[in-house]
């Protein structure tokens, strides 16, 4: 099979669909026309894309948690709590890890054992096992739009049930839900799976129902330089748009240096627009999401509040459309609803307090975005070249060649040669460029930034810096200095 970045034909799609809906018995509950009608009955203020557009118009940053538990009544209580006590603007339904791997039998065991023990034995809400009707119960009782958040390489059935179940936004992509979340799925396979998801969203779009789509920005969440995650986000946006998706939220996970973080969101928004326009997708709406620090957190809750607040501040100063919020329990485990709501309220305070401050036009931010955009262009142009103009083919080739290479990823299909490290002011740079097609001046720039740090720390540039940086925020620092 050779995938291409082309809209799936109805024949291909519907043949595949038959099979997909048979993967688990709840697939039978999905009826496209009925689902379109159901989606159309959802009031505007509960549609994800609408609320995002309104936020853009109002110049504000919305807040959204992660949350999901095994039992559906508990899940409803949880989400309800997060919108009332947490003041969440947008709601999630985070899916459990068995479902993500299409292990519906194990998810069923998880549901049963959760019922027995009275505590959630799953790390998320098993959407497929519950099926369309229970999803509608969830999405309909809440006041705010709800999105599915997961990490599923093959999310085809999940998408079918989710959209029919009344969710109005859907996270993921063929790269971003493979490389950080899987060991053995080929890129080719997962791009194909996600073409299905995107085509389904396209079909809803054509039927008059707009579903928001969000590539997963932070990837492995650990020292991911903006140029890498931004490039992936734009590729996934292009792949989605090719299938008829019209509403896309591109994302980025906080690195911690404010200038770099604001520059990352700025360059992400700008180049996403440029590339979509270039390929004729001028009618695709683009919004941005900023993820509060996605790497290892401090265990202490007060310190975690510090990290959460800094992420909230960076998001709003960068004018991201929404921010995904961490909790004071992050280092310990899936949060209680109270801890989750507390993270949200700390974030709400800052996104409202700082909404009139805008850091996008600070010269240092502009300079940093120039660097990021230059790096992104190197990567994206090479992907295009490798695919002879086709971003699906190009992506597969680019991973093979290490042109796209995601640090700390578990996937066998990822080269793993690129190695990030922080510079002396905490911006994420590269210790190893691997096979990323950077120009010599960019290579020199990164080297020089790390030499600067090495000199300050009186040690050589080395892998030990990377290790120190991975632990740093958990230990209270951004740059992992030697002791």
């Amino acid at each position: 099979m050779q995938i291409k970045n082309q809209k799936l034909s109805d024949d291909t799609f519907f043949a595949e669909r038959k099979e997909v809906l048979g993967h688990w018995h709840t697939g039978k509950g999905v009826n496209f026309d009925e689902a379109v009608a159901y989606q159309k009955s959802i009031p505007t203020e509960k549609r994800f894309g609408e609320k995002l557009s309104k936020a853009v118009a109002d110049g504000i940053t919305l807040i959204q948690p992660r949350a999901g538990v095994a039992l559906f009544d508990e899940h409803i209580k949880l989400l309800n709590f997060l919108e009332t006590e947490g003041e969440a603007d947008l709601l999630p339904t985070t899916v459990d890890s068995y479902t993500r791997l299409n292990r519906y039998n194990e998810a069923e065991t998880g549901i049963e054992r959760s019922k027995e023990t009275g505590r959630s034995m799953l790390n998320g809400f098993p959407i497929v096992n519950y099926g369309v009707d229970i999803c509608r119960q969830v999405t309909s009782v809440l006041k705010n739009p709800v999105q599915v958040r997961h990490g599923t390489p093959d999310a085809r059935l999940l998408t079918e049930i989710s959209i029919a179940g009344g969710f109005t936004s859907y996270e993921g992509g063929g790269i971003s839900y493979n490389i950080p979340y899987s060991k053995a799925h080929s890129i080719e396979k997962t791009i194909a799976y996600w073409q299905y998801t995107d085509r389904l969203v396209g079909l809803y779009e054509e039927a008059g129902v707009s579903i928001n789509r969000e590539p997963f920005g932070p990837l492995t969440g650990t020292l991911i330089s903006p140029c890498i995650s931004n490039s992936v986000a734009i590729i996934e946006a292009l792949l989605a748009a090719a299938q008829g998706v019209k509403d896309i939220t591109v994302g980025y996970g906080q690195c911690g240096n404010l200038i770099q973080d604001v520059a990352a969101i700025r360059s992400l928004g700008m180049l996403a627009r440029e590339y979509l326009d270039k390929f004729g997708f001028k009618d695709v709406r683009i919004t941005t999401v900023f993820h509060q620090w996605m790497g290892g957190f401090p265990q202490d809750e007060a310190k975690a509040f510090g990290v959460i607040s800094w992420g909230a501040a960076a998001a709003v100063l960068a004018k991201a459309t929404k921010v995904i919020v961490k909790t004071p329990h992050e280092a310990m485990g899936v949060p209680t609803k109270e801890a989750n709501a507390a993270g949200l309220r700390a974030t709400k305070q800052l996104v409202s307090m700082l909404k009139d401050q805008d850091f996008r036009s600070i010269p240092a931010v502009i300079a940093e975005s120039e660097v990021i955009m230059k790096e992104m262009r190197c990567i994206l142009e090479k992907v295009e070249e490798l695919g002879k103009g086709d971003y699906a083919i190009g992506t597969v080739a680019a991973f093979e060649a290490g042109v796209l290479d995601i640090p700390f990823a578990p996937s066998r299909y990822n080269a793993g040669k690129v190695m990030p490290a922080r510079d002396n002011v905490g911006a994420v740079r590269f210790l190893e460029i691997g096979n990323m097609p950077f120009t010599q001046d960019l290579i020199d720039f990164h080297r020089q930034k790390l030499e600067e740090r090495a000199k300050y720390e009186k040690r050589q540039v080395s892998f030990q810096m990377v290790i120190d940086d991975v632990y740093a925020i958990g230990k209270g620092f951004l740059v992992g200095r030697p002791k």
Binding site: N123, G333, T336, I467
Partner: protein
């Protein structure tokens, strides 16, 4: 090299790769021979690797919350496979949510693990304990 062989990996459907990579690197630096199975490792894979390399200990990581389900029965399978007294260490974020660690520890010790570690255990502690267990 200290002559000891350690099998490491992240159990079940868990893909948290960062701690695993760093732990494996640190163990090597500390002189161990490390057979790192990476993420998404099944109970069988640990046992196979331990048998093949005549390993001195198995380090099981679980971060994503399903550790309790995934680790259940590993000790029995080791026994059956002839790895009677092999030290089994578990660490990471072993259960769902912030729970009292003493309870979690007890549940894992009852499952036959030799030592159990709370979230955020440092590599220094991990290495010091391994040295002690293996009499180095």
């Amino acid at each position: 090299m200290n002559g000891k062989t350690i099998v490491t990996g992240v159990i079940g459907a868990d893909v948290h790769a960062v701690g695993n990579k760093i732990l494996a690197y640190a163990l090597e630096q500390a002189g161990f021979k490390v057979i790192n199975l990476g993420v998404m490792v099944s109970q069988e894979e640990y046992i196979e690797a331990a048998l093949e390399t005549n390993a001195d200990a198995i380090l099981v990581s679980s971060l994503y919350g399903h550790g309790e389900i995934d680790c259940n029965g590993l000790r029995q399978k080791c026994d059956e496979a002839g790895l009677k007294d092999i030290p089994l260490l578990a660490g990471g974020n072993l259960v769902v949510g912030k729970q009292n660690f003493e309870d979690v520890e007890k549940r894992f010790l009852d499952m036959g693990f030799t030592r159990v570690y709370p979230p955020g255990t440092s590599v220094e502690t991990s290495i010091a304990d391994l040295n002690e267990i293996l009499g180095l």
